[in-house]
């Protein structure tokens, strides 16, 4: 492990910088221990990949359908404009990157990520312009290509370790992408059809939709934990949000009132969490776990007694329809994925941005993070620690509550028992995966949404892997992430510790 310490505020380890520093250290011969974790881990995964994608591949082809546009003309215009914008963005960011490297300055943290995003958008727009409707690839050939690439990357990682140099961040990223491509091709080719194919657009759009409650939940977690309160009660907040949205929307006949009530309900759960853990200093994990049980019991009880007795008047909320954003929704592939969402979906984007900017670019955020890292110091400079925590926990609950309304106002238009189905815990994992950062949590939630949706699609087309293992995937991924990323991800220092003014 490198001795580089990071402030908790830094969301991404600066891969380029760290690598250079380590390389310099390596050349000077002063590096201490270099972990074999990366080399061995990647090696094992590469061998697994080779067995699956290479030896177990079949001779079928794998097809990836690109979602069709509703209006070809508008779509074509949008595609050309997107292509131009993406080209310009790629050129600009790429230029910044190269010039920074040439001048020997540190590359800004956001530049590599933005470049990759711009290139992806560019590629998708190009597909749209070319009006490609389906990509078909031979699974055997590409499977072996991926396997060889994986083995090569793992070998390089081992080589670096032998050289006492640290494995750079991009290597892991590239490995993950190649593995994902190989996996997708293998699993699609394993379908029942003679020429199996899946809709790529549908897969992605579904992933974003499934990620909505996860994103809200993990944002709730970020808000609470950055202020030093562990929020296990996300599950309960989602569930009560869903329940309240369903009942209030039905009673008032207005889905928007239902949405607001969901936020209130989430905040209510948070209020109990805040009072019991901040005022009465009870262990926050316990309060969270107990609150989840309480909300599950309460909503199930009320559902069985009241809602099933009179569903017409209590459990028939309307639906929040998906709204197209003009023009943006016409962009091929990207448009339907990102800009054909319900109100809750758009609120998700807004929430991610607001929480991110709020936490890392405002005075308020600095205070919150100070409270989460070192409450004594924050207290010394006049920040009211417990009030900050109280407010943050309430806000987190409101956000998670809105996420809960997704279940009853967007996904299904009625409440049912335990309908959040453990997603609060997944949101918790997404938050940790995303290193207590709103953007990271958002991306991690997308990953979980992707795995979730992939699993349901795979079950439909049939797969070589039993569906239970596919369902296991997000959870196994979390364990690996939590165990493997440690040292690089660290919770706020005062997380879970109540503050007693002394």
């Amino acid at each position: 492990m490198s001795a580089t310490t990071q402030s908790p505020a830094s969301k991404q380890p600066d891969a380029g910088k760290a690598t250079r520093a380590d390389r310099a250290g390596g050349q000077a011969g002063t590096t201490g221990l270099v972990s074999w974790k990366a080399g061995v881990g990647l090696g094992l995964l590469a061998i697994l990949g080779t067995v699956l994608f290479g030896f177990l591949a079949n001779t079928k082809s794998a097809g990836f359908r690109i979602a069709e546009a509703r209006d070809p003309n508008a779509s074509s215009t949008a595609a050309w404009i997107t292509l131009a914008v993406a080209l310009a963005a790629t050129a600009y960011v790429g230029y910044r990157w190269i010039s920074h490297r040439r001048e020997g300055r540190g590359v800004d943290r956001w530049i590599p990520a933005t470049t990759i995003a711009a290139v992806v958008v560019l590629g998708l727009a190009a597909l749209g312009v070319a009006r490609v409707e389906k990509i078909t690839v031979p699974s055997m050939a590409l499977g072996w290509t991926c396997s060889v690439l994986l083995l090569a990357l793992a070998g390089y990682a081992c080589f670096l370790t032998v050289q006492r140099r640290r494995t750079p961040g991009w290597l892991g990223g590239l490995f993950a992408v190649v593995f994902l491509v190989g996996f997708m091709i293998w699993i699609v080719a394993g379908g029942r059809d003679p020429e199996p194919s899946i809709s790529l657009g549908g897969l992605m759009a579904g992933a974003v939709t499934l990620a909505v409650p996860l994103v809200f939940g993990s944002l709730s977690g970020v808000l609470c934990e950055r202020a030093g309160v562990v929020n296990i009660a996300i599950e309960g907040q989602l569930l009560l949000g869903a329940f309240s949205a369903a009942v209030v929307a039905t009673v008032t006949g207005n889905v928007y009132v239902g949405l607001i009530s969901a936020a209130v309900a989430g905040a209510l759960v948070s209020l109990v969490l805040a009072v019991v853990s901040i005022k009465y200093l009870v262990n926050q994990i316990i309060v969270g776990v107990v609150l989840n049980v309480l909300i599950s019991g309460l909503t199930s009880f009320l559902f069985s007694t009241l809602l099933t007795a009179d569903p017409e008047h209590l459990n028939k909320p309307g639906r929040l329809q998906a709204v197209d954003i003009p023009f943006l929704a016409d962009i091929p592939i990207i448009g339907p994925i990102l800009f054909r969402q319900s109100l809750v979906g758009y609120l998700m984007y807004i929430a991610v941005i607001v929480v991110y900017v709020g936490l890392f670019h405002t005075k308020w955020g600095l205070r919150v993070r100070a409270v989460g890292e070192h409450p004594q110091a924050a207290d010394t400079v006049g920040i009211n620690v417990n009030r900050t925590r109280f407010i943050n926990v309430l806000m987190g609950g409101a956000i998670a509550g809105i996420g809960g309304s997704f279940f009853t106002l967007v996904s299904v238009d009625a409440f049912s028992k335990d309908m959040s189905g453990g997603r609060g815990y997944i949101a918790l994992a997404a938050m940790i995966f995303g290193r207590w950062n709103p953007i990271g949590a958002f991306l991690a939630a997308l990953l979980f949404g992707f795995a979730d949706n992939l699993q349901s699609i795979i079950t439909i087309i049939g797969s070589p892997v039993p569906s239970q293992f596919m369902a296991m995937l997000p959870y196994a991924l979390t364990v690996i992430a939590v165990a493997g990323l440690v040292g690089r991800s660290r919770p706020p220092a005062a997380d879970g510790i109540p503050y007693v003014k002394g």
Binding site: L281, S304, A429, Q468, Y475
Partner: protein, 463 residues
């Protein structure tokens, strides 16, 4: 304001805490006491408070101070536990009352005949007692005693899994993963039970052993990850619960586990040699697994209070840094305690497959793993406390089924009552405040968050 009134820190002395430790004199007013408890419990603000604050496991602090014997009884931990249960039952009753359509009718003439309203609320609870302790409406003695045996049967896995959770709590670990450990214990135990054919006596022993190993493996993985990589056990255990569940569902579709000729995902019945003998004859479900649960409780008591390993567990739980300084191998303790906790939960799995259910199905663990957390919390993480908490929750479960059948009150109310009990027990000051039992309570209503505390400090200074 508390800076002025806080006495010298000599009383508690946190030499292990490098940071500015909040120090309070123990034995003062309740708010001060809470603050000092928390300071002690969090090693001076360095770690999260333990599941069950150390102070509540000790005899009452008021012994050397002011409080009379009567005062101790009324503010002691036993009283708080009792009041918590009472409060939860009352709140559950209110919930049932407001959702019961009949009550709405009777409430209309409440002032004319208040008895009717009360009857409607008490009816479900009566059914609960009838279904869990003693059924006075039963035809013969067997029918009358059936409920209590049912309670003990349901309580058996709760006690075992609760012990697992409690043991981990004492070592400072949150074992949310009893669910997965039960599944693994049941998986191993059931497989040995139906696939191997061994002589009577030996077979059951091997089944129990297999269950212990299964649970220990699944729990040990958590300890290993925690010790080697620092992965937080709460996340790991939650995830492993899901993984174990899906693994079980998968295995039940494979020829090795699925019952021959059945399309349902259930295993064959266990051999009769692999089953716990029935204690009171075939008309009762109560099986020898309950005796094993008692033995397990005694074992955990011995482990925690009389063995070196147990002492190490408790030391690690109280303050890992101090334990490390004292030469205790914290990593080894973490792995070991999780393995033992897993084994205890695995025992609960065995009690399910080889006692109650007699075969393995997807729902073998039901919600025992999660109930076990509340059981351990209610039992304040002590072995015998957990035992009795398991009995209580077993009674709730068994009675809840009867209540649902008789009065159509959904069994979910049991979940509400259970979680309320734990919530109240975890916050004794809250319960004391509700019942007005706070010693020398002088409510100075200052700012919301720190109101009670500063108020307490003030009155402490005035004394």
């Amino acid at each position: 304001m508390s800076e002025q009134t806080t006495p010298d820190p000599q009383a508690t002395g946190h030499d292990s805490a490098p940071g500015p430790a909040p120090t309070q004199v123990p034995g003062g007013t309740s708010s001060e006491a809470v603050a000092s408890d928390v300071a002690l419990d969090t090693a001076g603000g360095q770690m999260p408070p333990s599941a069950v604050p150390a102070a509540t496991q000790l005899p009452s602090r008021d012994k050397d101070g002011e409080g009379s014997v009567l005062h101790q009884i009324f503010t002691g931990n036993a009283m708080v536990s009792f009041l918590s249960v009472l409060l939860a039952i009352v709140l559950g009753g209110i919930l049932m009352a407001v959702t019961n359509p009949k009550v709405a009718v009777t409430a209309g003439y409440f002032f004319a005949q208040p008895g009717d309203l009360l009857t409607e609320v008490i009816r479900p609870y009566t059914a609960l007692v009838q279904g869990s302790i003693f059924n006075w409406a039963g035809a013969d003695l067997a029918a009358q005693l059936y409920p209590i045996t049912e309670t003990l049967t349901v309580a058996t896995p709760l006690i075992c899994a609760g012990l697992g959770v409690a043991l981990a709590f004492r070592a400072g670990l949150f074992n949310i993963g009893a669910q997965g450990q039960i599944i693994f214990g049941a998986l191993f135990g059931a497989y040995v039970g139906f696939a191997w054919h061994l002589p009577i006596g030996l077979h059951l022993l091997v089944v129990i052993l297999a269950g212990l190993v299964g649970g220990a493996v699944w729990g040990g993985v958590v300890g290993l990850l925690k010790a080697r990589t620092g992965a937080h056990e709460v996340i790991v255990t939650i995830m492993l619960n899901y993984i174990a569940n899906f693994l079980l569902l998968f295995l039940l579709t494979t020829p090795a586990f699925q019952r021959k000729g059945s399309t349902n995902p259930i295993s064959p019945f266990l051999d009769s040699t692999a089953l716990f003998p029935e204690l009171l004859g075939p008309q009762f479900r109560l099986h020898a697994g309950f005796l094993v649960a008692i033995a397990a409780t005694a074992f955990v008591w011995w482990l925690l209070n009389r063995s070196t390993i147990g002492f190490e567990f408790r030391a690690v739980g109280a303050n890992p840094s101090a334990a490390r300084t004292a030469g205790i191998n914290v990593a080894r303790s973490t792995i070991l305690v999780m393995a033992i906790a897993g084994a205890l939960a695995g025992l609960a799995g065995v009690a399910q497959v080889s006692g109650t259910e007699k075969y393995l199905s997807g729902g073998v663990a039901a919600s025992i793993g999660f109930d076990a957390i509340t059981v351990a919390l209610l039992g304040r993480s002590t072995p015998w406390g957990t035992f009795f908490a398991g009995l209580l929750f077993g009674a709730f479960r068994a009675g809840g089924v009867a209540m649902q059948a008789q009065t159509q009150t959904p069994i979910d109310i049991v979940l509400v009552i259970q979680s309320l009990i734990v919530l109240f027990i975890a916050a004794p000051p809250l319960v004391r405040a509700i019942f007005g039992l706070n010693p020398r309570k002088k409510k100075t209503t200052t700012s919301g968050t720190a109101g009670a505390r500063t108020g307490g400090v003030k009155s402490g200074a005035a004394a």
